[in-house]
Subunit: 326 residues, 2 copies
């Protein structure tokens, strides 16, 4: 599945078959993560929630799925020249992990203000890090330079059908692990996870509702979903830093086709949902992963009484800097 320039390919999306193929491809390299629930959180949310724990996934986030699918989709000739991406977060570590599994080189372009812990996460899988100034232009130039020098294949964090298909495998597993779900909720940044989740869910069960969850302070996807255009990020910041990304035309198209509605939430609700999950479920989740529950607590996604699957996107947090501590 090659991605070339041009309008048609820039909107190409995986179908359910592609997600099934991705699942077979990534299964040797990622965990089938468990599904947990909590009666006391159900009482707060007014619904029966089934948490798909991608915080337990390789590299601590669902991103391992998309990166592995992309890397193991390459031909041997392509793979030999390696892979490159830009990322300040989990996708960089995921691509480094996938490349190591295949035994090929990886380059990760990171902003020079990226936290040391994030750089270490990439470096521990043997990827080469290229630092650049923290602008879109600089990171694209740096990726292009790596490609010119090495012939490495670009693996975009979300604007890539192979990556979207890989992310959809979490929902595929969740639907097998849990009976009779009425709805699924996934957080939305660039839209790769939500695209894959919605294609997998609606393909598997036509009547299921699929919701996107976003911080109000980074509510561009909800606006884009409504307007049909890619709306810019608001100037506000959010602790769910993994969600501070605009959609691509490809992911916007997927969401407009397969997503039921969006919910947004306050920063306070994110902190409350995150802490509630740690305290009652005894699992470590990152702020972005708390956004679906935060939307339920603020009742901006209406699933009262329903059986609802939630993709818990990741658990990579700095334990020295927790958001409920000043």
């Amino acid at each position: 599945m090659q991605v070339a320039p041009g309008v048609r390919d820039a909107l190409a999306l995986p179908d359910l078959d592609a997600i099934h193929a991705a699942h077979a491809r990534v299964t040797p390299h990622v965990h089938c993560t468990p599904v947990l629930s909590s009666s006391s959180i159900d009482a707060e949310a007014g619904a029966s929630l089934f948490f798909k724990c991608e915080n337990f996934q390789r590299i601590g986030a669902f991103k391992a799925r998309g990166a592995c699918n992309a890397v193991f989709s390459l031909s041997d000739d392509e793979a030999r020249r390696g892979v490159v991406t830009h990322s300040s977060g989990n996708h960089g570590a995921a691509l480094a992990y996938a490349a190591r599994r295949r035994g090929i080189p990886a380059w990760v372009v990171m902003p020079d203000n990226a936290a040391k812990v994030k750089q270490a996460n990439v470096a521990r899988f043997g990827a080469a890090i290229r630092l650049c100034t923290p602008t879109v232009a600089a990171r694209e130039a740096a990726c292009a330079e790596v490609q010119r020098e090495t012939g490495a294949a670009m693996i975009h964090p979300f604007d890539d059908p192979r990556v979207i298909a890989g992310q959809g495998t979490a929902a595929l597993e969740l639907l097998r692990q849990t009976e009779e779900l009425d709805a699924l909720i996934a957080p939305c940044g660039g839209g790769g996870l939500l695209s894959g989740t919605s294609i997998a869910a609606r393909g598997t069960r036509t009547g299921i509702a699929v919701y996107g969850a976003e911080p109000a302070n980074a509510g561009d996807a909800a606006l884009s979903f409504a307007s049909g255009r890619i709306e810019p990020l608001p100037p506000t910041t959010t602790i769910a830093d993994g969600l501070r990304t605009t959609l691509a035309p490809r992911t916007l198209a997927a969401l407009r086709m397969f997503v039921t509605a969006f919910g947004t939430c306050s920063e306070e609700a994110i902190v409350r949902a995150m802490r509630m999950t740690w305290e009652r479920m005894k699992i470590v989740i990152e702020p972005s992963a708390a956004v679906p529950l935060a939307c339920l607590l603020e009742r901006t996604i209406d699933v009262a009484g329903a059986r609802v699957g939630i993709i818990v996107s990741g658990g990579n947090v700095d334990l020295d800097r927790l958001p409920w501590q000043s």
Copy 2:
């Protein structure tokens, strides 16, 4: 299984059949918790570790098992008059939970310096709290007073064969969930969990090794195990506050019969093991639950290359006061 005064009964222990019976009795009331593992922690420990996640248990700790077995072992006549215990920690919440499940009253005697969060954990299941000064004499007097007033049955946190049998059900499940374990490790405070674990393990598989794990700063059980007498707590303190308890003659007898050896660990290793578990496994565990891994990191328990089950005893921590933060 009645516990009356007297030397014989004071040393009575459950056998494997009693633990199987306990498992049938508590199954409707407790979770069969999952077993997790981490290849990166295995590399640090030099062994294959299988973590039985009792931090995901009802009330956040294995104590729900022993309390439920004791409460559901009572005759209807006994149960009607309620249950009483003393506890500054998880056993109080566990007994309150078990009593609520059976629909009977519970009284929990707590030291008047017990943290508000611990009092709230007991109160949320509807138990009555009696505060007393923080001495052994005061808490025993308070329990006796409740028994005189109400006829409630005393359910000791660990010096009770019904409680020991209940705690042993975690090991029973772990041995079913994981193939071919060479060894089990459990933390040791009063010895209820370790007694139940060792009886279950050695009864099920004769050749298995069972280790007790203790902070060096509360290393009384290791000393007692060696000397055959109940040794006092050292004057030092430990962050694994759930383990600051001496053995009873009953638990000492069990450990001398069924435990292979003890390991102890430093406070630094406890903090390191706890943080490593949070960061790499993405689960919230309390300091006491990190003590077995801490002993492995300091190589005071020798299981190099073996397949080792660990009872992760609980996950109740104050998220505002983490031990790696000053």
